[in-house]
């Protein structure tokens, strides 16, 4: 979470908004959407590495949250609960994207030029231009992390969640959470160190 202090202050009003939404006030759910959309988008983008998928993840996360709202415990942190759903949606998206890519390969091998052209667009040209060489290498390195490693790293490094909170969000023990973060950082070091040491 980008600003944990602010998030804590918001938490009280989040719980109240959840209560109102459960009582039938649909606009109360809108308050939650307004409040959490941008941070959820950033999380989803870092998880999926793709702007379009991140947009879909945001939609799907709020949809799932709405349907499961009665399962939210008022003593819990709404942001963390929502992030947990967001992480699961992102992982679902990544998996379905990977399945899609697997299906696409045989077509490419058969020499379908139009499909080949589309497949070679990953990452999309605008993303490459936008992110530049460092961004593209980071994206590549991130894409080589396992689902758990990527999730744990994103939540620790970008969102500032504690190891305990990450463990709770991902359903991992503290030691497993730590190990996931260690492995993620080690892989990123291996992939990026040669580049950052030459660009100093």
């Amino acid at each position: 979470m980008d600003n944990p202090g602010l998030m804590n202050r918001m938490e009280g009003s989040d719980a109240a908004a959840v209560q109102r939404a459960l009582a039938g006030d649909r606009d109360a759910f809108r308050v939650l959407v307004d409040r959490h959309s941008r941070s959820l988008f950033r999380l989803a983008f870092r998880m999926t590495g793709n702007e379009h998928d991140a947009e879909e993840v945001v939609q799907e996360t709020f949809l799932r949250a709405y349907r499961r709202l009665s399962k939210f415990e008022s003593r819990a942190n709404f942001g963390t609960w929502l992030y947990r759903i967001g992480i699961n949606c992102s992982l679902d998206f990544r998996r379905s994207r990977m399945r899609h890519e697997e299906h696409r390969e045989p077509d490419d091998a058969e020499g379908n030029p139009a499909v080949q052209q589309l497949a070679s667009e990953a990452p999309a040209p605008d993303r490459v231009v936008f992110s530049g060489q460092v961004g593209a290498r980071v994206e590549q390195a991130m894409s080589e992390l396992s689902d758990v490693e990527r999730s744990a790293f994103v939540l620790r490094h970008f969102e500032g969640l504690s190891i305990e909170e990450i463990g709770k969000a991902l359903g991992l023990r503290v030691s497993a959470t730590k190990n996931s973060i260690f492995r993620a950082v080690q892989k990123l070091r291996r992939a990026l160190e040669p580049m950052v040491s030459t660009t100093r």
Partner: protein, 267 residues
Amino acid sequence: MNHLNEEQLILYHYGEEAYREAAERRAASEHLAACDNCRASYAALQRVLAAVDAAPVPERAEEYGSEVWARLRPRLEGAPGKESLRGWNWWLAPQRWALAGAMAVLLIVAFFVGRVTREEPPTSAAISPQARERILMVAVGEHLERSQMVLVELSNAPSNGKVDISSEQHMASELVGENRLYRQTAMNAGEAGVASVLDELERVLVEVANSPSEVSSKQMESLRKRIESQGILFKVRVIGSEVRERAKPAQQDAAPQPAAEPAKKST
């Protein structure tokens, strides 16, 4: 103090439990100040993590929450927290009726194709898998052409003041149902490339269908950017021209053969 290994450096960097206590943290800091090896290793770690931070993340505007809500609201059925209430509301939504209509059309086509296949001698006039594939390609080609028209209209819409997109919105709503069917059919037929583009197209069509019928210049711009950033128009054109190419022999395979056969028999 002993040298800090990589894991300890990571925990130190993130201020984790072992280094939350002032004394522990100070001891590690003092060691880093005194030890060239550990300092170099820590500096390397910081450089890598700084590079990770440098990877850009697209920012969303203040009103992003409202945009999310506008797309989300039509999808919120029933009371919150009641997943099981989805049933009837889902089936009664107008888009579902459009989808049901399209499915009915497909069933009729399938029935018709089945009849044609049964009535003809299997060796000469049964529709081959290739011909069926081409029939699908013809239908998908037409669908892509109509979708392309909607996207082009939106891309060229004026960008000042309020813009009425009700006709594009209406067309997009109709296309969404068809798109789902074609995507599913393409998937089942192993046309992963076509299915993938249809998948992307569907998301844009859903967005257009769920937009207000009159949009502000800002909303219009965001819609246009969405179309452009995905390169969807380009992909639709590429796949559209490819499927039309593949559909070309469809008339020879599917239509004229059954009509020509009886004439030969009578002579």
